[in-house]
């Protein structure tokens, strides 16, 4: 029985969303050089043994770039998957899916960073 205007208004404007959108763009831009660097490094060490890779990752620049890559990558993944879920999941599962994606990306980023730090600080 609601009027068409009331239906269109819904709960009103969230007066937000620009931070999410902007963070997605900025992380995407950051990922361009980081991904190029990462792939280049992996190819450069393609024939190398375990020690060579560890030595490379222990250099300050490599470990720093790796941690920034992990942060940007999983932040971008979380933001993007959130949009996909909001687009397509219209049931009660949406809330659970959003939390799962957030926590999953946080867990993966943490695991990657901890692993990198363990390598950096290993004797």
């Amino acid at each position: 029985m609601r009027s068409p205007l009331a239906r269109a208004e819904g709960l009103g404007s969230a007066k937000g969303g620009v931070k999410h959108w902007w963070a997605e763009r900025v992380s995407a831009v950051a990922l361009v050089p980081l991904t190029v660097w990462f792939l280049g490094s992996v190819i450069a060490h393609a024939g190398g043994d375990y020690d060579a890779v560890i030595t490379w990752l222990k250099t300050p620049l490599a470990s720093l770039a790796m941690i920034v890559l992990l942060l940007a990558l999983f932040h971008h993944t979380a933001l993007g998957l959130q949009v996909v879920i909001e687009d397509y999941v219209h049931s009660d599962a949406r809330f659970a899916a959003l939390i799962a994606v957030r926590l999953g990306c946080l867990a993966l980023a943490s695991a990657g960073i901890v692993a990198t730090l363990r390598i950096v600080f290993s004797p």
Partner: protein, 279 residues
């Protein structure tokens, strides 16, 4: 295509139907069935076949596709002429909206050969064989080719598409330099036919909250107007994860606009303006 200058004519770009099974996820009562065939009048030599979506809510039964054979020697050059010919000479129960027959009223927007366009600005000779005519997608059908646009106009009403000014009304008109006036070029021409919004996948999935390209282009038309004094209120209304940011730059809107406008660019301009406001 995007019209860049006034000597260009907007032309549709061919896009064939996306290969999903027919009637995919369509409820049983909406499944389209085969209707009847209306043969051309005897003696007609140049015949064009039109497959037209028919639905009458006052009769039981599913929507159906009727096949009309049109005598091109007795009919004008546009698809709308063919529809009027059918209504006058074959089946007077065929329902469709039309008014200006020259692409400025936006009434006869429909899905022609799978893409949205105005029936009055599409040449019959540009249609495939057989030509297909459906109502605009993703809208409730009132009858045949007449969709219910109530929700779309409610969304339009929500953005308050008129000049907001607190400066007292001057004795004459509110002045605008030619340069300021040019800022609404490419946006003020929108005729609200909703070809774009009907073709927008984001509006298909979240049309209850996402405003859609037509309404967002109209929002930008007022945000870009130098005389308007309600940017804060307008941006507050729009800045919402669903109302504005459901646009993922799919650009079906720009492809299908029969006026050659670029709703995708208008939405990008709104997003840029919101970022600018943030600092």
């Amino acid at each position: 295509m995007i019209v860049e200058s006034s000597d260009q004519v907007a032309r549709f770009t061919l896009l064939k139907r996306f290969p999903v099974p027919r009637n995919f996820k369509v409820t049983p009562e909406s499944r389209i069935e085969k209707g009847r065939t209306w043969p051309a009048p005897p003696g007609a030599s140049r015949i064009k076949t039109f497959e037209v979506y028919r639905y009458d809510p006052e009769r039981d039964g599913n929507p159906r596709i009727d096949t009309f054979e049109v005598d091109l020697d007795d009919c004008g050059p546009m698809v709308l002429d063919a529809l009027i010919w059918i209504k006058n000479k074959v089946d007077s129960t065929l329902a469709f909206r039309r008014s200006c027959r020259e692409g400025v009223c936006g009434s006869c927007a429909m899905t022609l050969d799978g893409t949205n366009w105005l029936a009055c600005t599409r040449f019959i000779s540009d249609m495939s064989k057989p030509a297909t005519i459906y109502p605009l997608a993703n809208l409730p059908v009132i009858k045949d080719l007449v969709p219910d646009t109530t929700h779309l106009f409610a969304q339009y009403e929500m953005i308050e598409p008129w000049l907001h000014a607190t400066t007292p009304t001057p004795e004459k008109e509110r002045l605008q330099s030619p340069q300021e006036r040019s800022q609404v070029d490419g946006y003020y021409e929108c005729i609200l036919c909703f070809c774009c919004t009907s073709g927008c996948p984001s509006h298909w999935w979240n049309g209850d909250r996402f405003l859609g390209p037509a309404v967002l282009l109209q929002s930008w038309r007022w945000l870009a107007d130098s005389r308007d004094e309600a940017k804060e209120k307008r941006l507050d209304t729009l800045e919402d994860p669903f109302r504005l940011y459901r646009c993922h730059t799919i650009l079906n809107c720009t492809r299908t606009c029969p006026k050659g406008l670029n709703p995708g660019k208008a939405i990008a301009e709104i997003k840029k303006m919101v970022v600018e406001r943030e600092g």
